[in-house]
């Protein structure tokens, strides 16, 4: 589904990603862990197409297409979803209006008819339950006045509504208490299908107690330096990142 090869990216002339390789297949959940400043959020931004980053080398293939060649909204319409670490507030624009616009844009792109108001509302009711999002929040402005936990749940709710092929969760667990974390994880797990995949970017292992990854990768200094099964996350939690650093240096 996603194939990242030798990806180099820089911001303001500073190289952050230094030759990153990653392959994600349908049905898989990949966790990317790493210390602060390793390039985790950069990877999420680069995949979504944030302009601030310049790709200097490498390629990213998404469902057989050149992802880097697409505009941000095109990537989204092709089925790439980014759950933001810091969801953005848009005053005056209701969640409902926002989502319906997004869904209809995507449908138009795929050559489908716009969704009927009835179907749409039914979908909102059903999927907001998934993340225990108060249906009142759906009528409020996008993320405005939401608590930290509500914002993250709203991200997963949007993900449920937009039905992406590949979801990138950028530190979705940061700042969440354990109850909110459980709800978010429950939503993510419920959305897992055979033909979809997820990349879960996190600093902490605890999220992976709830969203069980098929693979864990350690991102350090712009590269994936170690990959392994889910047990690797536990090892990282126990021993911290220093041993990885040492390992890298000693190589």
């Amino acid at each position: 589904m996603l194939k990242i090869q030798n990806l180099h990216a820089e911001i303001d002339g500073k190289e952050i990603l230094k030759g990153l390789n990653l392959e994600v297949k349908a049905g898989e959940v990949h966790a990317i862990m790493g210390p602060n400043g390793a390039g985790k959020s950069t990877l999420a931004s680069v995949l979504a197409g944030k302009e601030d980053y310049e790709i200097t080398e490498g390629s990213v293939e998404f469902e057989g297409k050149d992802l880097l060649d697409m505009e941000t909204d095109e990537r989204a319409k092709e089925g790439l979803f980014l759950a933001f670490q810091y969801p953005v507030e848009i005053p005056g624009v209701s969640n409902i209006n926002f989502l319906r616009t997004a869904i209809n844009e995507k449908r138009e792109y795929l050559g489908q008819e716009p969704i009927s108001a009835k179907d749409f509302m039914a979908m909102v009711r059903e999927r907001s339950k998934l993340v225990e999002l108060d249906s009142k929040l759906a009528n409020r402005s996008v993320n405005v006045g939401f608590s930290g936990g509500e914002k993250k749940r709203n991200e997963i709710f949007q993900m449920a509504m937009l039905e992406p092929k590949l979801s990138v969760l950028d530190e979705t667990d940061s700042g969440l208490d354990i109850d909110a974390l459980r709800i978010v994880a429950k939503g993510v797990n419920a959305l897992k299908k055979e033909d979809t995949a997820s990349i879960v970017i996190t600093h902490y292992q605890r999220l992976l107690d709830y969203i069980v990854p098929d693979f864990v990768h350690v991102l350090y200094d712009g590269k994936i330096v170690k990959s392994g099964p889910k047990e690797l996350a536990l090892e990282l939690e126990e021993k911290g990142y220093d041993w990885i650093k040492e390992e890298v240096v000693n190589h």
Binding site: A48, G49, K50, E51, E71, T72, D73, R75, A76, K77, F81, L82, F84, P87, V88, E89, I90, P91, G92, V93, N97, F98, L99, T101, A102, E105, K106, Y109, S141, V142, Q158, L162
Partner: protein, 481 residues
């Protein structure tokens, strides 16, 4: 993507044609250019006016001659040649007995403007007065309104039929000497709308006037006088368009609102005069004086969506004379290309426990200049006055300007005044968030801007809210950065 926003989008908008730029080919009567006492007498005699009104005009003219065109506003333009304008132009056939009499060309004009009276008669129940080139052309729903004692007619008709009311209130809120344009209007106004809601009557439908400048080389100087008697209520809508012409056209209107004890007037404007082309050529000079007075427990609420005109100079204001009276001003002003707008309000608190609210949203695009100018004045005797002001400016390009000039004058220690203002660029993170959800840039900007203006758009009556949102999107399609 930022590039698309700032350049291509801007280009898209520049190329956006002014939708209402057609002219109507109907026979009209236009008096010679220029302004002097004889012209004023001519206007007055054409309208068969009583002597007191001619006197009012002549006195105003004398005052105007002594005045200078104001230059304190943050706008730059070639001052109009007041002798090069025709002060009276009217469709030849002036009086229509019934809707069927109306010139087909005129009907066509109205339907192009999306205000087919026929349709409105049937569907929306909005009473419409249509003023083209200073002359009121048609008023619908008159009979139904008159059953309630509501008078809604052209200003000229009011002068003939209800001279006492006109005489009693004309010039009481906007004195002739108020300012240069108000004095000019008082001298030469040709028509406009008049409305009176009797005591205790809640007007059951929205009253609406559409203004249109059609004739070349004319100015439009309409006069609106609206009186809500004690405990009455009315919601009044005003829309404006003009043909696309290379020359600048002058529009200097005066609107006076009188809200007597316990009455409420809601006055909404969607102003879409021709803004000039993308080079800044042509367009309407919109120099308008709008003011209302609130007596005891009365309320006046101004809502405006300003997207048109080359130059706008306009400050719909409230004199909160009565105790417990309320004034509100909700404004969205969009400027693009070379447009210049200096707009805002004055809230004059004279009575005790008076309240005012000001919400202003300015959006500047292209090379335009957009200024908010507002006065909040608390008189020595106005105990417990309250004001809240929020004025926000959004910048779309690096070639436009957004300015805020608030004046806060407080002479009473029991007042609570809060003023907040922000100026910023449209949020790149917001655009990125929308893009990531698959919403393209142009739609994202439309969404964000409409959200930004929501507090104001929500104040418009339904009939206008939809139109205003469309207008906003058209005005900004691509303008944004």
């Amino acid at each position: 993507m930022a590039d698309y926003t700032e350049n291509e989008l801007a280009k898209d908008l520049e190329n956006k044609e002014y939708e209402y730029g057609f002219t109507t080919n109907i026979e009209s009567e236009k008096i010679p250019n220029g302004l002097n006492e004889d012209i004023i007498r001519l206007i007055s005699s054409k309208k068969n006016e009583p002597d007191w009104l001619l006197e009012f005009r002549l006195k105003s003219f004398k005052m105007w001659e002594q005045m200078e065109e104001p230059d304190w506003a943050h706008v730059k333009y070639q001052k109009p040649d007041f002798q090069g304008i025709s002060y009276y132009a009217a469709p030849k056939k002036q009086k229509y007995e019934s809707w069927d009499d109306v010139d087909p060309e005129m009907k066509e004009t109205m339907s192009k403007l999306g205000i087919s009276l026929e349709e409105q008669k049937r569907l929306t129940g909005v009473a419409v007065d249509f003023v083209m080139d200073s002359v009121s052309v048609a008023t619908s729903f008159k009979e139904k309104l008159s059953e309630l004692g509501i008078i809604f007619c052209s200003f000229s008709e009011a002068v003939q039929e209800h001279p006492d009311l006109v005489k009693k209130y004309l010039g009481t809120v906007v004195p002739q000497s108020d300012n240069f344009y108000a004095a000019l209007n008082s001298a030469v106004f040709s028509d406009g709308s008049f409305c009176y809601i009797p005591k205790g009557v809640k007007c059951p439908m929205e009253l609406s006037t559409y203004f249109r400048i059609n004739e070349a080389g004319t100015g439009q100087f309409e006069r609106t006088l609206l009186i809500a008697d004690e405990n009455a209520y009315v919601s009044y809508l005003e829309g404006c368009t003009a043909p696309q012409r290379d020359e600048n056209q002058l529009h200097a209107a005066v609107v006076e609102l009188i809200s007597l004890d316990g009455a409420e007037i809601k006055y909404s404007t969607v102003q879409n005069w021709f803004p000039g082309d993308k080079e800044g050529k042509g367009g309407v000079f919109n120099f308008v004086t709008k003011r209302g007075i609130c007596h005891k427990g009365a309320k006046i609420s101004w809502t405006q969506v300003e997207t048109g005109s080359a130059v706008t100079w306009k400050y719909p204001s409230c004199i909160l004379k009565g105790d417990d009276s309320v004034g509100e001003f909700y404004s969205v002003a969009v400027t693009n290309n070379h447009q210049m707008a200096d707009t805002g309000t004055k809230m004059i608190h004279l009575g005790k426990n008076t309240k005012s609210t000001i919400i202003s949203k300015g959006i500047s695009a292209g090379k335009s200049q957009n200024s908010y100018r507002g006065l909040v004045k608390i008189d020595r005797k106005a105990d417990n006055a309250r004001n809240f002001t929020q004025c926000d400016s959004l910048l779309m390009t690096d070639r436009c300007g957004a300015h805020t000039f608030p004046y806060i004058e407080c002479e009473n220690p029991t007042a609570q005044l809060e003023h907040e203002a922000t100026t910023s660029k449209i949020g790149e993170d917001q655009i990125f968030y929308c893009l990531q959800r698959g919403i393209d840039e142009e739609k994202a900007i439309g969404l964000i801007v409409n959200g930004y203006c929501k507090d104001v758009l929500n104040k418009l009556p339904m009939e206008f809210a939809v139109e205003a949102q469309k207008l906003l999107t058209i005005s900004l399609e691509g303008s944004v950065g």
